[in-house]
């Protein structure tokens, strides 16, 4: 893994590297580097299998982290490529021509995070949701509990009591902070 990363460093501009396990590393790269790097990994380094493509919402930093995890079966190692995309203009290059399965992931990301992959097949079709009206649900600023309470009716008659408060009230306790 070390030698591979060293080799990659020579050819590509790599960002921060996390070596999570001896057989798993994550590398942050720029958007432009991704495609050539993936292609290189696939064609020259034996990473033939796209394990997953997904996103993480770092809302505090205004970024989406996209992770492509590729796997080299023969040497039993994985490398995850991270690309940070601005949250307010989330567009990324599609890679379904490298791995056709990426198209499915890209559709899901479009629907669940609102990250666009221009040119990906059926990218604008509804995928999992149907008649969705709110912001993409996997975004951190989407509050699923609030949405659930507003949209669906819950059975009435529930209500709970906090033990400390209950004792305070029943034992006539003053003082102390809540």
């Amino acid at each position: 893994m070390r030698t591979l990363l060293a080799r990659l460093k020579e050819r590509f501009a790599l960002g921060p590297i996390t070596e999570q396990r001896p057989d798993l590393a994550f590398v942050t790269v720029e958007r432009e580097t991704l495609r050539p790097l993936l292609r290189h990994l696939r064609d020259a380094e034996g990473f033939t299998h796209l394990v997953l493509l997904t996103a993480v919402d770092w809302i505090e930093e205004g970024l989406f982290q996209l992770t492509w995890l590729v796997h080299d079966r023969r040497r039993a190692r994985d490398i995850g490529l991270r690309v940070m995309v601005a949250r307010d203009a989330p567009v990324m290059d599609a890679v379904h021509d490298l791995w056709p399965t990426a198209a499915t992931y890209q559709r899901e990301l479009k629907e669940m995070f609102g990250i666009d992959f221009p040119g990906s097949p059926r990218i604008d079709e509804e995928f999992i949701l149907e008649g969705w009206v709110d912001i993409p649900p996997y975004r951190r600023d989407f509050d699923t509990l609030k949405f659930s309470e507003e949209t669906f009716e819950h059975r009435a008659g529930r209500g709970t009591t906090d033990p400390a408060t209950h004792m305070r009230e029943h034992l006539g306790i003053q003082g102390g902070s809540k």
């Binding site: 997953l52 997904t54 995890l69 056709p100 999992i128 509990l145």
Partner: protein, 387 residues
């Protein structure tokens, strides 16, 4: 090998389908459709008996797990992960627990590792039994499903006495497992395994030595071997194409390095080969369970000490943990941010690629009668696709 794949995906060789020509018929299979293993649908465009296009539609079982996990503490995620994949829930528990243990730096006791392996193999048998019944049923050979479901019920009894539940076992907690084996478990398990073996012999006779079944499955739904990596095909689907893809061997986890087994491989990569690989893999699992029961430690802790789970925080990090489930590579990609809640959990089920991209690729050119069976032969579970 892989250079061709670009071309393959980039240029669509099929002519456009003109629905108004009257030559084609749109047909929906599912979601309410007995030929579909779960709640999903395939939109078929047929021309006579031949399917010219198949689009999968998923989302009928979408519960938003990955979102729900983000608002649950690490321990609270534990009960919901198993629901991601209904027919084989334990891999969710294992992958989640393993990922959390890796990120939080928790060691799992030896005994728990053996029990986890035992559970996963039991789950694999269950899953295969269900598949065999489904595959035979898709061709109208209902009797296989009757037998396999019966022995699967026996296995569920073993699950029940060990874990306290039939389907959602919720037994593999981060940090270990909940309990050891109950008294007399080995004996009853040995009996169950014998019964499964007997049934499998019957299944072999009736299903695999069956002229009609062979006629229906041989040479149908062939996955070319060069598609395996391109389409991210793993597990028995890949092994039936002749590749020894097996996470248990490639990335040994739990106690697999200590067990003796060889990945089961097929060659023709058609429906028959896939069914046969699974049948033989099931027998391997039976053998593995026997090995485990013979060698596992019988005393010692089953849980390691966890921090207080009510406010358990895990430092920032990310990892990917995979396991070989009955359908292929099952994995959890977990990102933590130092808080008491996971930042993001992505479930990578094998069905995701098998049932969507691969199925859509395989369907065109098949007979309508084979679509349901083809889908079954890829052994996909819709709940894990949409989560």
């Amino acid at each position: 090998m892989t250079a061709g794949a670009d071309v393959l995906a980039a240029t669509d060789p099929r002519p456009p389908i003109d629905l108004s020509s009257g030559k084609y018929l749109k047909l929906w299979q599912g979601p309410q459709h007995p030929g579909i293993t779960g709640n999903m649908s395939i939109e078929l465009t047929v021309c006579g008996d031949e399917v010219v296009e198949g689009k999968t539609h998923v989302g009928y079982l979408h519960r938003g797990f990955e979102k729900l996990m983000e608002r649950r503490t690490f321990i609270q995620v534990f009960p919901i992960v198993c629901r991601v994949c209904v027919p084989e829930p334990d891999f969710n528990e294992y992958c989640y627990a393993a990922a959390i243990e890796e990120l939080a730096g928790i060691e799992v006791p030896e005994r728990a590792r053996w029990i986890r392996t035992l559970i996963l193999e039991m789950g694999r048998i269950n899953s295969y039994l269900m598949y065999l019944g489904g595959q035979a049923g898709a061709f109208g050979l209902g009797v296989i499903g009757q037998w396999t479901t019966h022995v699967r019920d026996l296995m569920l009894d073993r699950f029940e006495e060990m874990t306290g539940a039939r389907i959602y076992h919720m037994f593999i907690l981060p940090g270990g497992v909940r309990d050891g084996l109950p008294d007399g478990f080995d004996r009853r398990m040995a009996e169950t395994l014998r019964e499964i073996e007997r049934t499998m012999a019957d299944v072999e006779n009736v299903m695999f030595h069956n002229a009609v079944f062979k006629k229906r499955t041989r040479g149908v739904g062939v996955i070319p071997v060069d598609l395996v990596d391109t389409y991210g095909i793993t597990g028995p689907n890949a092994r039936a194409a002749g590749l020894p893809n097996d996470v248990r061997k490639d990335h040994p986890y739990l106690v697999y390095p200590e067990l003796r087994f060889e990945p089961v491989i097929g060659h023709e990569s058609d429906m028959y080969a896939r069914a046969d690989v699974r049948r033989r893999d099931l027998l391997v699992s039976i053998d593995l369970i026997r090995q485990i029961l013979a060698r596992m430690p019988r005393s010692g802790p089953t849980m390691s000490r966890l921090p207080n789970v009510l406010h358990w925080k895990i430092p920032r990090g990310e990892t990917y943990v995979r396991g070989e489930c009955s359908r292929g590579e099952y994995g959890y990609y977990v990102v933590t941010d130092g808080s008491g809640y996971p930042r993001r959990i992505n479930v990578r089920g094998p069905s995701y690629t098998h049932a969507m991209a691969l199925l859509e690729h395989l369907i065109p050119g098949t007979n309508i009668s084979d679509v349901a069976a083809l889908m079954v032969s890829l052994h996909t579970y819709p709940p894990e696709i949409e989560r």
